[in-house]
Symmetry: C2
Subunit: 434 residues, 2 copies
């Protein structure tokens, strides 16, 4: 049986997971590929720490270039993360004609254009299944399974840490800070978990998915971002009263008049399957013009699921090598890009439903003043709950609107913020009916 040699750069969590899958399932993988996939070298600056798997000393090196320059290695796997060194290694490997597998969403989101072009110029595979959704084969679904469709929209729960935090806030009625503390202690979140909870990580992943849908990279700066740190258990409870669950969503929608791309907390109807994605699970809900709605669900992170995704890319490339294919498709799965460049639709022009919570003094006519301001901005209320006084003597008023325009909502919030009857900041959460 033929042998296909792989070099792994980065022996951290995902690197160790990748080597572990390749070893534990070597026989079934060989049966599926028709070739033996062998890890020939592993590079890491730290080759002393215990990674939970035993590796022959001779495989380890601190010099990544030993992998990139090894003529017997046909697939280079970049798993160091970060931007500068990872980019350097990937570009060198592509230049040497190696196929490259990476899990580096930040790099693809920030420098994708340059890397995709280098892979194109080299005519080799650049594969990145593990960059989005951990073990969920969502990149493959977009590149292959749904390739007959124009994709209308993507709605993703792409950050497991945020989803874990929101799930516990919902189930246990706990404040954000308390759950984050717990999540850090349990190892579900970094300390501090900034990029997870502020929407950056989800935006990186959304940039990767959207680039495949359109065959052309979109810029991170074009993605609107809002995190979950300001959500309170009260808002989550009110959302439940209205029949919604609260999720951090990554959304892309082809409106026919520009692309919406945004990451923010949103309320989702409880009977929508996305509202039932809990704990550290990720899910991606995609609508295609022929396939209709599709959902992909699984563990979005972790050594074993991410290792599964990295190795699925290695298997796919090994099959191509074995079959004598040049390369089945370019990184973004478009041989050429049809039509015009992608035009991003400004966030101002978003039209959706909105949830507001205001705290007001307990005085007659307050609700009428507030709804008056909303009405002046073309915002009509679909349901409202007014509760009794809270401990500070304020009255919380909670509303869900019909479809309104984001620019009007911003203006209305500015006007409301100036009213003397309000006793606290206004809380706004968008509602996605799916």
């Amino acid at each position: 049986m033929a042998t296909i040699n792989v070099g792994v750069i980065g022996f951290g969590t995902v690197g160790a997971g990748t080597v572990e899958v390749l070893r534990a399932n070597r026989d079934v993988i060989a049966a599926r590929v028709g070739a033996d996939i062998v890890v020939k070298k592993i590079a890491d600056l730290d080759i002393e720490s215990d990674r939970g798997i035993s590796v022959e000393r001779g495989l380890l090196t601190t010099n990544a270039m030993e992998i990139i320059e090894d003529r017997d290695i046909s697939i280079v796997v970049e798993l160091i993360g970060g931007l500068v060194k990872a980019k350097e290694f990937i570009l060198s490997a592509l230049e040497k004609g190696k196929h490259v597998v990476t899990a580096n969403k930040a790099l693809l989101a920030e420098h994708g254009r340059e890397i995709y072009a280098a892979a194109d110029a080299a005519g080799v595979n650049l594969a990145f299944e593990a960059s989005v959704g951990g073990g969920i084969p969502i990149i493959g679904a977009l590149r292959r399974g749904l390739a007959a469709n124009r994709i209308r929209s993507i709605m993703g729960i792409l950050n497991g840490t945020s989803n874990y935090i929101l799930t516990r806030m919902t189930r246990e009625n706990l404040p954000y800070a308390r759950v984050v503390e717990d999540a850090v202690r349990l190892g579900y979140a970094e300390d501090p978990p900034t990029l997870d909870v502020d929407g950056t990580d989800a935006a990186h992943k959304l940039a990767v998915l959207t680039s495949i849908v359109f065959g052309s990279p979109i810029a991170m700066s074009d993605i609107y971002r809002e995190g979950i740190a300001n959500l309170t258990p009260d808002d989550i409870q009110y959302a439940a009263d209205f029949g919604y669950g609260v999720k951090l969503l990554a959304l892309a929608r082809n409106t026919g008049d520009g692309l919406e791309a945004r990451v923010h907390p949103a309320m989702v109807p409880k009977n929508h399957i996305m509202a039932n994605v809990n704990d550290v699970f990720n899910a991606i809900y995609i609508e295609g013009d022929f396939v209709g709605p599709n959902l992909y669900y699984g563990l979005g992170a972790g050594r074993r699921p991410t290792g599964s995704a990295v190795v699925s890319d290695i298997i796919e490339i090994a099959r191509q090598i074995r079959s004598g294919a040049k390369r089945l498709m370019p990184p973004l799965a478009h041989v050429h890009t049809p039509g015009e460049a992608i035009r991003l639709r400004p966030m101002d022009q978003l039209r959706t439903d909105y949830y507001f919570r205001v705290s007001a003094v307990d005085r007659p006519g307050v609700l009428s003043r507030i709804s008056g301001v909303l009405g002046d901005h073309d915002i009509s209320i679909s349901s409202v709950i007014q509760k009794g006084r809270d401990l500070n003597g304020s009255v919380p008023i909670v509303m869900v609107t019909h479809e309104a325009m984001e620019s009007n909502v911003r203006k209305a919030m500015a006007v409301l913020g100036g009213l003397d009857v309000l006793t606290d900041k206004i809380v706004m959460v968008r509602v996605e009916r799916g």
Copy 2:
């Protein structure tokens, strides 16, 4: 740009959907493949009926062999369904060196061994994404995305008609016969919907999925089958009281000591994501040793979703043709099959939890006699609900057990059936905790 010609045999619902996708999305498909995919001929015995899309008269023929023998056609798409003619056409096309795409799950489940072998001998692609789960790219997920894993289990809702019927029985508390009548009238079910509701269709699909997992066909006769016709709204209601939803599940589980393969109604915990798959939707929940649990969800039937799946296969084959690949992988995605032949585990040896409903006379000691019989057969009760007398003066007793063995359950049911205190047949539904 290069042209790749396709011939479509069978111009019914799926055939028309396939041609429709290829035309409506011709530009994006060409961008993704780098070649123009053209429908060169369409064969059907009936070339007069309106299929809802306009097709040039010259494309139509009543002679499928015109497609199979056309040297310019490289991909033959079989969409006539049925066994005899479809098999003949597929084998002829493979013999002529054509790549073949089919949606024919019944044929693959009944005659897969012969067809897979013919594709192997010819060295061409045999693709069948549309045979399971309609538009859900589940075959691709098993062949590629999860290829690094040993698959531990598959739990599928693979028949949209049954799921629609069960969803309405649940929501509206309606009897089976009443919902079936409605489903037939609305076009969601055939009249009569025998193969949908008796588990045969789901078993065909399970046979296809399981064959890919193991790289070797399994026989339809090895799959245990039980349909939904005996379920009552009462049982669905009791299941809800215990915290379960009722679904028709197709299950395959690698126990380490043989493969379980079975289709039957089952109770699933309400907080399991599979219990939230409703209406005509299909879903497949897969556990791999590294990836953990994965779910794939979408429309399992219909002209447009199935057309999307057929065309995804055409795209994949066209990319291989364009890249000069021989063939990326055999039909079952195994170049060779590792280890021993698949051993099916007899249904008798199944261990799971069970739900029972018995109707008994309202007399002291009845519950103790019933639980005594269960205890004699190593079946212990986890929860029990005893309701007041029904209209016939009988008392319904509803129980969920701890894990028990199917053979003991069968024996216990036989003994219970002979008790003079029972006034009606015993209802048994298996419980799957996922």
